[in-house]
Amino acid sequence: MATLRPTVYSRGSAAAIVLVDLDAPKENGSTFCSTPTGYPLPDHQPFDPGLLRWEENPPKPSRGEPRSGTIFVRDLGHPRYRLQSALLVAVEVDGPHVVAFSHDLDAFGWGDGEGEAVADFKAAVCELFDALREDRANLGPHPQTVLRYLERVIAEDA
C-alpha cells in the first residue's frame, strides 16, 4: 500500500493540497493531486509533479514574466454561470504561448499571456458545459463524469 503524505503547495493567497506518494520513484508521476472540492481526478490519474515543482523551489521570474504553476479559477466570466467552488487550473508557459488546463475536466485554453489563456479556458468550460447538458441523455461514461462534476461546481443564476 502506498504511503501518501499530504503536502500544501501555495502561491499567493491560493493553495492546493497534494498527496505525495513517498514509495514511488519521483520521476514516475508519483504525485496525486486532489482538487479544492476534494473531487478526485478521473481514474486517479497521476498528476505531473513537474507542474508543481517550482512551488517547492520557486524560481524568481523577472517582472511581468509568466511562469508555470497552478492557480484557482473562481469565476467563469459568464453572465449566468457562477462557480460554487474554485477550479484548480494548471498554467504552463509554452514558448510564446500560455496554456491553462484542468485535469479534472480535460479542458484547456491558451493565449499570449496567462490572463488570455485563463479567459480562453473559462470559455472552453462554458462551451463544454452547454454541450454536455444539451446531450445529457446520450453521454458515454467520460462525458457523464465531467458533467456530474460541472453540475456540482457550477450554479446557474436565473
Binding site: 454541450a131 453521454l139 462525458p143
Partner: protein, 97 residues
Amino acid sequence: MSLRTGDVDRAFKKLGMEIREGKDTLAFFWYKGKLILTSRRSHGKGKIEGNIPNKIRNQLKLREDEFRDLVQCPLDFDGYVALLKKQGLITEERPAQ
C-alpha cells in the same frame, strides 16, 4: 510537436467527429448514439505549436504514437474505437436476456 490545423481537421474528419463552429472549432466523437468525447481547436489556418497538440491528443485519449498514427493515416475509425473500448471509454450495452 507541431501540427497544421488542416492535420487536426483531417483527423477529426477521419474519426467521423461532428464539428460545431463557435468561438472555436468543437469536435464531438459519437459511437452508437453516445457522446464518447469532445475536443477543440482554435480557428485559423496556421500551425498549432508547443504543447497544444498534446492537449488535443489528451482529449482524444491517445498516446503519442497513436496520435501520430491518426494524423499520418494508419489509425482508422475502427482502430480508434478499439482503443477507446480498451480504455473503458466505450462500453457496449448487453442485450436484455
